[in-house]
Structure formats: structure tokens, C-alpha cells
């Protein structure tokens, strides 16, 4: 059974959603289906007063359907207001953004990310897409939540080829576990149901303390699952898998 079929996307979405608190301003950018779904889920469950901002410019959009691309104009539907990406960067820069969702092609044990290059920056073996807003958002947003739909030792590395961005990482959510940043290091906070400590250890390129005592991420509740089915019948949540 694939991760997709096993409900790992939903497990990740609820794990992310539960990190969001009522009243927070929360932003995601391009190529962010999981944060989009998780934020809308949080707004329907644990954080109804959350302010949902996206790169599409919607403030508290209530899209009629969920798009595959998270810059999509449907993310303006039923929005209360419209802002530009510049205004969102400014908001973060002046300390007004509570949560930014970001990701990395490589992520190290400090929660820093590489989105720039494998090999040398100037003569890369692999040119990566670039960090988008991360080098501004990671140091300025109050909390950064990283996510990746894949967890292997080539992603979670001891040493980045290049530090595209670093900063206020709070949690990292993967198909296997939730990391929490404690004193600047990623520690395993919980492992998802059905995942073994050994799986997490071998999939992670930096040393992690994980064992039978590690808490298990609570699976989606019936209520969370129902909301997910309602807001995301097409399972856009699984599109990154």
C-alpha cells in the first residue's frame, strides 16, 4: 500500500493543522498543497479565528474547490480582502506574521533549508528552484513550519550543500514524524501511527533520539477526517505524494 493510499497525506495534514492556533496569521506560498489543506482544516477545527493568507493574495479565502496549484485564483474566492505578496513579506518583516509554511530540497538538523543547488552554488551539479521567500520569511516570521511529503536521508541531511534560508523553525512535518526545534536542533516530537523508530532513524541523515518511548502522533479524529473529506473531496492533500 502506498503512503498515499494509507492516509499519510491526511495524517500529515492533521499534524500540521493542530500546530496552528486560533487568531494566528498564517501564510503559504506556491506549490504548497499540504499547508493549504491543513490551514483550511485548522480554520474549521482548532483555529477558527486564524487569518489565512496565501500567495494568491486572499485573506481568509473560502475556495469553492481546492486547486492543484496554490497560486491559483480560486484562492481568492470569498476572501475578505486581497493583499499582495509584497504586503505579506512586509507583514513578516515587521513581525506581524505568526506562521510561514516553507519547505526544502535538503533540510538539516538545525531546520535550515537548501533550495538553491546541489554541488557548488556557482557551478551546480543540480540547479534547484530557489528559496522563493524563505530567506526573508524564515528569520522574520514568528514560527516557521517546514513540511516535506518525503522523508529520506538525501533530504534530511547532516550537512546542506548550501544554506538558502535559516531561522525560526518550530516544527517539521514529514510522512514519518513531527520534528520539533529545541535549542536550535530538530528533535523527534512524535512518530506517526504505524511508523517504527528504526524507520525514522534510517530515513534521517542527522542523528535523532527516537525509541519506543517516543510519542505517537494522534491519528486523525473522526471529526477531522470528516472535515477533510468535505473540504478536499478530490484529495488535493495527496497531490505531493
Amino acid at each position: 500500500m502506498s503512503e498515499r493510499e494509507a492516509g499519510v497525506p491526511e495524517q500529515m495534514a492533521v499534524a500540521i493543522a493542530r500546530l496552528l492556533r486560533d487568531g494566528e496569521t498564517v501564510f503559504h506560498g506556491v506549490a504548497s498543497p499540504l499547508p493549504m489543506v491543513a490551514t483550511l482544516l485548522a480554520k474549521r477545527t482548532c483555529a477558527p479565528g486564524l487569518v489565512y493568507l496565501s500567495i494568491a493574495g486572499g485573506v481568509d479565502a473560502e475556495p469553492g474547490y481546492l486547486p492543484e496549484t496554490t497560486t491559483d485564483p480560486v484562492l481568492l474566492e470569498n476572501a475578505r480582502a486581497r493583499v499582495t505578496l509584497s504586503e505579506i513579506f512586509d507583514l513578516s518583516a515587521r513581525g506581524g506574521l505568526d506562521v510561514a509554511f516553507l519547505s526544502g530540497v535538503q533540510i538539516d538538523g538545525q531546520g535550515r533549508v537548501n533550495m538553491s543547488a546541489i554541488g557548488a552554488f556557482d557551478r551546480p551539479k543540480v540547479r534547484l528552484p530557489g528559496g522563493a521567500g524563505s530567506a526573508l520569511l524564515m528569520p522574520t516570521a514568528k514560527r516557521v513550519i517546514l513540511w516535506r511529503a518525503k522523508h529520506d536521508p538525501r533530504i534530511f541531511v547532516e550537512r546542506l550543500d548550501f544554506v538558502t534560508a535559516a531561522g525560526n523553525v518550530d516544527r517539521v512535518v514529514t510522512p514519518l514524524c513531527v520534528f520539533r526545534s529545541i535549542d536550535g536542533r530538530l528533535e523527534v516530537e512524535s512518530i506517526h501511527p504505524g511508523v517504527t523508530p528504526e524507520q525514522v532513524r534510517t530515513a534521517t541523515g542527522f542523528p535523532v533520539a527516537v525509541g519506543p518511548e517516543t510519542p505517537v502522533t494522534p491519528p486523525p479524529t473522526a471529526a477531522e477526517a470528516a472535515v477533510l473529506r468535505e473540504i478536499d473531496p478530490a484529495r488535493i492533500v495527496a497531490s505531493e505524494f
Partner: protein, 267 residues
């Protein structure tokens, strides 16, 4: 028609080789694709392409040999369409220079140009290797001594903005997300607007780019395709997937450019 209205080939002919060209839109949304196709057809060379987050437009300009440099925060398709493989290959072979930015530093550079100052201080960037790798310099606040990164002004020679409606005087109305298009129009020396429709007169509150900033208006129905255009059409999934498949090899990308772009008149 009259005023600033020209044909798309005439508009693109204004762009010299080596120009700094800012492209409106974001990833697969409201990119000025018809203009990009025309740039490819006219065989422009040596462009420095400025964008916050680019995808098909930048990838195609790299594949067709039009771009010498890409100044952007992110070049990649959204989830269903994967990476920008032609861009990646062009940078890896040294054909194109990746002038990686933070999206916010593109904005800061454009703001400096729009405000007539040589640089703009920008927050964040701490802990990133980008300033050192890219030669971004620091500047000290003359009041407190606090240091921030300074972004040099980015004044594009041309900004190309695709909009839903424009009048013959260049007043242009964007439906949906504005992205950085208004700022690009302010920062650029010349502005080319491509528009789904030339309309008679727009109500003041509909205008997002005032005509006095615009040099030329070219009517280009479907001009964002294969990217989407809010309120008009979605992105062309088949085309983008076909491009993604073709772009896996240099030969595939070259054949795609010939078959679907270079030998085809404006859509």
C-alpha cells in the same frame, strides 16, 4: 484602434538583445506567454529575465536560448508539473546564470528603482548563504548602526504584463491576483501590456496600471496560455505536461520549441 495599440510582434520588436526583461504573473498564472512565444520567434538573445516566481515562461526562454541570466526567487512549476528542467539544464551547463534572489529581494530591487533610489534595505536574510554567494552587500542604518542587507535597484528595461483588459491609452485592469505586476510597471523603463481584450474605457477603480506608465498595448487573446488567466481560462494542463515531458532532454525541448512555438503564429 489607435493610441498605444500595436501588434504583438511590433511590441516585442521594441526589446533589444541583452535587455533586462521583467515578466508579470506567477508560476503558471497570468504569465505573458504569448509575448514570450513571440520573443522566441524573434530570436531575442541575452535577456536578463526578472521575475519573483517563474515557470513555463522562464523555462521556455532558457530552452530557446533567449535568456542569459534569470533573476528570480523561484523557478519551478507548481506541484503537478514538476521542476523547470530547461532552466535547470541551462544553468548547469553554464548557458544561463542563475541570479538567485529571495522573491522579497526582487521586490526590494524593483521598489528601489520605482522610488528612484540606488538601493533598498531588506529585512531577514540572516543565516542564509545567499548574500555571500550573490554579492549582496550590507548597509548600516545611519541612526542606529543596525545592519541589513541592501538590494541594488532593479530597473528592467521592459516589463511585460499580461492583463484581462486594457484601453488604447494603456490603462490596464488585472482581474484576480496582482502579483508584483504593478510594481514591475513602476520600476521598468518601458511597459508592454498584452491584453485579452482592448476595451473602450475602463472605470477608474478597475484600472490597476495607469496608462501613462505604459508604452505599448498589444491585443493577445489567450495571451497567458498555456498558463491560466483569472476569470478567463485555466492553465492548459496538457500543454504544460507535454512541455514537462519534452523538457527532460535538450532535444525534446528544442523540438517542442520548434513545433509548438517557433513555427506557429501567435495563438
Amino acid at each position: 484602434m489607435r493610441g498605444k495599440v500595436v501588434s504583438l510582434p511590433e511590441a516585442i520588436a521594441m526589446i533589444p538583445d541583452g535587455a533586462v526583461v521583467a515578466l508579470g504573473g506567477n508560476t503558471v498564472h497570468r504569465s505573458p506567454s504569448a509575448a514570450v512565444h513571440e520573443i522566441v520567434r524573434q530570436g531575442r538573445r541575452g535577456l536578463d529575465v526578472v521575475k519573483t516566481a517563474g515557470a513555463y515562461d522562464v523555462d521556455l526562454l532558457c530552452a530557446a536560448g533567449c535568456a542569459a541570466a534569470v533573476s528570480a526567487g523561484f523557478i519551478g512549476f507548481e506541484t503537478p508539473f514538476g521542476m523547470a528542467l530547461a532552466y535547470r539544464r541551462a544553468v548547469e551547463t553554464g548557458a544561463v546564470e542563475a541570479r538567485e534572489h529571495v522573491c522579497a529581494s526582487v521586490i526590494a530591487g524593483l521598489r528601489a528603482a520605482a522610488q528612484g533610489v540606488p538601493f533598498m534595505p531588506i529585512a531577514g536574510m540572516t543565516g542564509s548563504d545567499l548574500p555571500a554567494a550573490r554579492g549582496f552587500r550590507m548597509v548600516a542604518d545611519p541612526y542606529t548602526g543596525a545592519e541589513t542587507v541592501a538590494m541594488a535597484a532593479i530597473a528592467p528595461d521592459v516589463a511585460i504584463i499580461h492583463v484581462q483588459e486594457a484601453d488604447v491609452d494603456g490603462n490596464a485592469a488585472i482581474t484576480g491576483t496582482l502579483f508584483e505586476d504593478v510594481l514591475m510597471a513602476q520600476a521598468a523603463k518601458r511597459v508592454i501590456v498584452t491584453t485579452e481584450r482592448v476595451v473602450d474605457r475602463l472605470p477608474m477603480d478597475r484600472v490597476t496600471i495607469p496608462g501613462f506608465l505604459v508604452s505599448a498595448v498589444a491585443e493577445a487573446p489567450g495571451g497567458a496560455a498555456p498558463c491560466g488567466c483569472a476569470g478567463e481560462y485555466g492553465y492548459d494542463r496538457e500543454w504544460l505536461l507535454a512541455w514537462g515531458a519534452a523538457a527532460k532532454t535538450a532535444e525534446g525541448a528544442a523540438a517542442f520549441v520548434v513545433d509548438r512555438v517557433a513555427t506557429v503564429a501567435a495563438r
